[in-house]
């Protein structure tokens, strides 16, 4: 077991493209860290550099305090789990799991004992003599995990290990991975493109974009206090609503009405080079049916009326989509997020607002409904650089803070 330190680690390919740029990251011993981001953000390259499967162009990588830049993967004492499971098809489950131990030249009894133990933990005992081709996807995935844990390495590296499983199994395996990591207490670096996985699994999440780290922190912190537009849009499902906001006379003119702003935000907008246009971000759960809130709460927010487009009842609450008029928010980050979601060429008609209202709300499709939203929870972003203006000392404080 060991800590992993990335010190200004970069990856430059021979053709000049930079896949990873100056990544600084300290992963504590026993920590579970998730690298997440859209495809092509450099997360897998970073993981491969930690594994030694990819050379480090510049910077330093230390595992357990030791510089390992020039060490071969086999000398780094790490275990990796691949998306494709990468099981050896010619070997049985037992042989697959024993393979790293056999390479370490351990004696047969030790190997058997270790394999049996790992198999017990992952409930693979009955499958030990089968070939990988006779296993289901979930079983293969467990064998791949088993092969990683048998040799008690310094760290686990996992490259989208659950992406090839169907949705239900993925949720199930997520808890298996989580429990296993806690049980073993082994430092783990886990790559995924799925923000739900990132939120649920990790102690800390590293959000990457275009080879650069955007923000590092515990999942809840990233969710509540996104440093920029990209992080705000990437984390959360359904994702944050983004609306165009024009700065006029100390107020923000938006499609949801005029939003008052507090002193802190105002100060940032006073400068000569301050942006005249902003992007307003509101998470779906910060809306509520105006009829259902008390006066105390009402004062902390703003109300507006909009036609209801679609109602999705989830049982515990309702996802309600409203049509709002006005300009769409636009920024490079938002386009990138849309492209990653595969919706770059599909914009629909007008801006659609996603809200999560109480299940008691009698909202119906087609009607016009009065909705309230919490001003203390909104975020304001500078469209030119994506910076979150409502962030103060790392905490988001809404638009009204003084």
């Amino acid at each position: 077991m060991a800590d992993i330190v990335l010190d200004k680690v970069s990856k430059r390919f021979p053709d000049g493209t930079v896949a990873v740029r100056d990544v600084d990251l300290e992963i504590a011993d026993g920590e579970f860290v998730i690298l997440v981001g859209p495809s092509g953000c450099g997360k897998s390259t970073t993981l491969n550099m930690i594994a030694g499967l990819e050379d480090i162009s510049s910077g330093e990588l230390r595992i357990g305090g030791q510089r390992v830049n020039d060490k071969a993967p086999r000398d780094r004492d790490i275990a990796m789990v691949f998306q494709s499971y990468a099981l050896y098809p010619n070997m049985t489950v037992r042989e697959n799991m024993a393979f790293p131990l056999r390479l370490q030249k351990l004696d047969r009894e030790t190997i058997n004992a270790k394999v049996e133990d790992a198999a017990k933990v992952l409930e693979l005992t009955a499958l030990l003599d089968r070939k990988p081709s006779n296993l289901s996807g979930g079983q293969r995935q467990r064998v791949a995990m088993g092969r990683a844990i048998v040799r008690q390495p310094k760290a686990f590296l996992m490259d989208e290990p659950l992406s090839n499983l169907d949705a239900k199994l993925r949720v199930q395996m997520r808890t298996v991975v989580s429990r296993l990591q806690k049980q073993l207490g082994t430092t783990t670096v886990y790559v995924t493109h799925d923000q739900t996985e990132a939120m649920t699994l990790g102690d800390r999440v590293v959000i990457m974009r275009g080879g650069e780290v955007q923000q590092v922190g515990p999942p809840q912190e990233l969710y509540d206090h996104p440093r920029n537009l990209f992080v705000a849009g990437f984390i959360g499902s359904p994702s944050m609503n983004f609306l165009h906001a024009a700065v006029e006379d100390g107020r923000l003119r938006t499609a949801l009405g005029d939003v008052p702003i507090g002193d802190r935000v105002r100060r940032q907008l006073d400068g000569a080079d301050a942006p005249r246009e902003l992007i307003l971000g509101v998470r779906p759960e910060h809306f509520e049916d105006a009829a259902l809130i008390d006066d105390e709460t009402r004062r902390r927010g703003l109300e507006f009326e909009a036609p209801v487009e679609i109602v999705e009842s989830m049982g515990s609450d309702k996802y309600v989509y409203f049509t709002v008029e006005g300009e769409r928010a636009s920024a490079a980050e938002l386009e990138e997020l849309a492209a990653d979601a595969g919706a770059a060429d599909f914009t629909g008609a007008g801006a659609s607002l996603v809200t999560r209202l109480s299940a008691e709300s009698p909202v119906a499709e087609g009607e016009t409904r009065r909705v309230w939203f919490n001003l203390e929870k909104i975020h304001l972003f500078d469209p030119s650089n994506g910076r979150n203006l409502t962030l103060h000392e790392g905490r988001a404080a809404g638009a009204l803070a003084d």
């Binding site: 071969a72 790490i78 494709s84 990468a86 050896y88 390479l103």
Partner: protein
């Protein structure tokens, strides 16, 4: 030619597909066992199947089945074109003559030696070449083309150039190795024949093996290196087992080919100094000697030998190839 996919290629989706196929197969099997009458639709489908196969089957019958049967028929007769009047059916007498003849067994030994040595050397060199071609990043096309040139040259032309190269006085290779005429001695002649064979067909071997290399997933090698395998261990413990079906196919093709070695011997030594292969001997009897009976007997014997080799290889596949392993047969 098709090379079997490895089981690693069978991911979850393929698995699901396979099991779906298995379920679908159950009712048809039951129907067949119960001798249930085929529906009109099924009958029409079956008829169409036969019709679609018919042209290929007819061509195969005309160009392979007929000559084989005819040569078997000829091999059972005394039939020498110099004495056409003495033609008669003599049963297996020709076989007795050939199989007790020392020339046949010498030629058989030469053929077996050439086959074993050339195929073994080609496998090693071909694997090396395949790895080089697989790993080259720059000028991949040029490397591959260059490697394939020997295979593209007509065997007879290449054989002539080898012969001239080894001709004392004028040939550069003969001069390089000093006095003597290597093509006039048995051992050196055989060595030169094998050299020419290996030079010519290694690229083919490499090509077949390269197809096998493409079947080894990159992740598997990455996994092996994080598991602690050295480059050699990755090659022997991961690459070779996964490639095994492709290697066996390549070996089968080359063995069958090598066993019929003819052109190089014909040009280089014309079978002098006991360097004849069985094909050479057959040619001498059948075409030169005009003895259709003995010649046909020899060609049938070659056919049988090749069939045995193929049978052994296919039996070997039966236990090794993923396409026929028991999990998929179920």
């Amino acid at each position: 030619m098709s090379v079997n996919a490895t089981p690693t290629g069978a991911d979850v989706a393929a698995n699901a597909e396979r099991s779906a196929g298995r379920h679908a197969a159950v009712p048809t099997q039951r129907a067949r066992r119960g001798r249930a009458p085929l529906s009109e639709n099924k009958k029409a489908e079956r008829r169409l199947g036969w019709l679609l196969c018919a042209p290929a089957a007819l061509v195969m019958l005309a160009v392979t089945a007929y000559p084989i049967i005819y040569s078997v028929w000829l091999s059972l007769q005394r039939f020498d074109l110099r004495f056409p009047d003495q033609r008669e059916f003599i049963g297996l007498e020709n076989y007795a003559t050939v199989l007790t003849n020392e020339f046949w067994w010498t030629a058989f030994g030469v053929t077996a030696l050439i086959t074993v040595v050339t195929v073994a050397v080609e496998l090693v060199l071909g694997m090396g070449l395949a790895l080089v071609m697989h790993r080259t990043l720059v000028g991949r096309g040029i490397v591959r083309t260059a490697a394939l040139i020997p295979y593209g040259i007509v065997t007879v032309v290449a054989a002539f150039s080898w012969r001239y190269a080894w001709t004392p006085g004028t040939g550069y290779l003969a001069n390089l190795f000093g006095e003597g005429a290597p093509l006039t001695e048995r051992a050196s002649s055989l060595a030169i024949i094998m050299l020419a064979e290996i030079w010519k067909t290694t690229p083919f071997m490499a090509l077949l093996l390269m197809a096998g290399l493409a079947l080894v997933p990159e992740d598997l090698l990455k996994a092996a290196s994080t598991d602690g395998a050295t480059a050699w261990q990755r090659f022997t413990k991961v690459m070779l087992p996964v490639m095994k079906p492709a290697i066996l196919v390549a070996l089968l093709f080359r063995t069958l080919d090598a066993f019929r070695v003819f052109d190089n011997i014909f040009i280089l030594t014309a079978g002098a100094n006991e360097t004849s292969s069985v094909s050479m001997l057959t040619y001498n009897n059948l075409i030169r000697g005009l003895n259709l009976g003995i010649g046909s007997t020899m060609s049938v014997l070659i056919f049988i030998a090749v069939a045995i080799v193929a049978f052994v290889f296919v039996k070997l596949f039966g236990t090794a190839a993923p396409g026929s392993s028991d999990d998929e047969r179920r």
